[in-house]
């Protein structure tokens, strides 16, 4: 089973919609130990991309690249470079591909995480979006190595994203605004981990819808 790279539009739109629908929720979560703007930041970037796309078709990799560019060039803050890098590096690693196989997708995710590691010091356990992304990368690499069914692997990734996100609840923030709260940051979800979970799940659902 593969996702035709050419069929990127429904995947990207699904991601845009999911972030848009969770704007308020993400803002509220960020409000607890951050500054409350995460929903706004993410929504602005994703919706801007969605408007830019309009009625056009896009490949999955071009879509990720364009979304990354919008985030990087028009959102700024931390989310611009962080998600911008993730999406652009994911796109970079597969732009030549016609078919996105499970193996290709696992490499894309890994490239995104590597890119992220190039610009942030956060690692697993630091209560950031890394705690959502990293287990998903691991899970997909393993699934690819085991030659799992793509659809099933995507479902597993959704579970990993959920578990990863939930794991941040009990962590103490080491980076970003909430890190200054120290122990006071424990007990609530990390905003970036939450948006990353929502985004990855939407990506997975979008991909499943065009799996062939």
């Amino acid at each position: 089973m593969v996702v035709k790279n050419a069929k990127g539009r429904p995947i990207l739109l699904n991601m845009v919609q999911a972030i848009h629908e969770n704007k308020q929720y993400l803002g509220d979560i960020d409000g607890l130990i951050g500054d409350g703007d995460h929903g706004m930041n993410m929504n602005k970037g994703f919706v801007t991309y969605g408007e830019r796309l309009g009625e056009d078709e896009t490949t999955f990799t071009d879509g990720l690249n364009d979304l990354g560019m919008v985030l990087l060039n028009e959102i700024g803050g931390s989310m611009g470079p962080i998600y911008g890098t993730i999406f652009m590096d994911m796109a970079d690693s597969a732009e030549e591909e016609e078919d996105i196989t499970l193996e290709v997708f696992a490499k894309m995710l890994e490239a995104g995480l590597e890119g992220l590691y190039g610009i942030v010091d956060a690692r697993p356990g630091d209560k950031t979006l890394v705690d959502t992304l990293n287990p998903c990368v691991e899970c997909m690499k393993k699934a690819a190595a085991e030659g799992k069914d793509f659809a099933q692997a995507l479902d597993e990734m959704k579970d990993c994203a959920e578990t990863g996100k939930e794991s941040t609840k009990d962590m103490v923030a080491k980076y970003g605004r909430s890190s200054r709260l120290g122990e006071r940051s424990r007990g609530v979800l990390d905003a970036g981990a939450t948006s990353c979970c929502i985004m990855l799940k939407a990506m997975a659902d979008g991909m499943k819808s065009v799996l062939e």
Binding site: D35, D37, L72, G76, G80, P81, R180, R184
Partner: protein
């Protein structure tokens, strides 16, 4: 929320419109909607001095663009770093062929975006060197100075870096002067009320009436201690006790002192506070060469104040004393 706004999502763009309309003799728009440049930028043969940061800190950052300070500034959303693209365009707007000094504050978003912009600039053949301000003593222990935030000390960094560039310094000299300026500078803030982001509509942290947050950051980052609200003399003591030993500033030193309001504290009270701070500094045998008191680096509608002290040597003194003309600081 009793604020003067249209759609809060547009506040930065509208503010920029109003700013350029008001200060057309000092700044101009550029091709990037989130970059302002000095009217005469770029100056051929001069090192370009660039800064940038999130909005909501007026006069910072665009308020320090102008004669003998910064050549351009990248503008972010409220409390959020400008984009890498904006920093890149700010570099270009300031580039007079001698390279660009990007002098900014130590926040993870700014760090990431500046780094990316510097990389992109390099690809385009433009040399950019950076100085990262980290004057906020309360934001990390002394042995982790690289983690400390930049606060109002940035103004003195811009003043010195900008003056050095205007006096003909080359890129390395400008960077060295700015680095020395910030290395010789320490700050601390005390917050009395939280601030409210216009798009959020309510404060996202709390400072209880009758208490104060010592070491608060410019975005409401928690400080090192929450204690009972004190009188101005005790506040002054607390601030100088944090700032002076950290560098340290000692008897015989000559310093610049900057007391900035956080936005909503009446300026009258900043003079009351400075009056106490001055006594404590002079008592220690330290000479105050120059004092700045006013709303120089704010946090929206937060009440409170920051204290910044910078040790001078002959070079820094000359740079501080040079005239300048910006919205935030005009010196004749």
């Amino acid at each position: 929320m009793q604020r003067i706004l249209n759609n809060p999502d547009n506040i930065v763009d509208e503010m920029l419109e109003g700013f350029v309309k008001t200060h057309g003799d000092i700044v101009k728009k550029t091709s990037h909607p989130r970059v302002l440049a000095a009217v005469n930028a770029p100056v051929e043969g001069k090192v370009g001095v660039v800064t940038g940061g999130g909005s909501g800190h007026k006069p910072a950052f665009i308020g320090y663009v102008g004669k003998n300070m910064c050549d351009s500034a990248a503008v972010g959303e409220i409390c959020s770093s400008p984009t890498a693209a904006a920093f890149l365009d700010a570099f270009k707007a300031a580039d007079g062929g001698k390279g660009v000094a990007c002098l900014y504050g130590n926040y993870s978003g700014d760090n990431m975006n500046v780094k990316m912009a510097v990389k992109m600039a390099k690809k385009e053949g433009l040399t950019v060197k950076t100085v990262v301000a980290n004057d906020d003593v309360a934001s990390a222990p002394k042995d982790q100075r690289e983690k400390r935030r930049g606060v109002a000390g940035e103004i003195l960094m811009w003043k010195c870096g900008g003056a050095k560039a205007s006096l003909g310094g080359d890129l390395d000299e400008v960077i060295a002067a700015a680095q020395k300026a910030i290395d010789s500078t320490r700050s601390v803030g005390i917050g009395l009320t939280p601030c409210t982001l216009p798009a959020v509509g309510h404060p996202n942290f709390e400072i209880k009436d009758g208490t104060m947050e010592v070491g608060i950051g410019h975005h409401g980052e928690p400080g090192i201690e929450v204690c009972e609200l004190e009188t101005a003399d005790k506040m002054a003591k607390r601030m100088t006790d944090i700032v002076l030993p950290d560098y340290p500033f000692e008897s015989g030193d000559e310093v610049v002192v900057l007391v900035s309001g956080l936005g909503a504290t009446p300026v009258m009270e900043l003079y009351v506070l400075y009056n106490e701070i001055e006594k404590l500094i002079v008592e220690k045998g330290i000479r105050i060469h120059k004092a700045y008191v006013g709303n120089y680096f704010t946090s929206l509608d937060m009440m409170g104040a920051t204290l910044t002290v910078m040790k001078l040597d002959d070079e820094l003194k000359e740079l501080i004393d040079l005239d300048c003309n910006t919205m935030g600081l005009t010196q004749v």
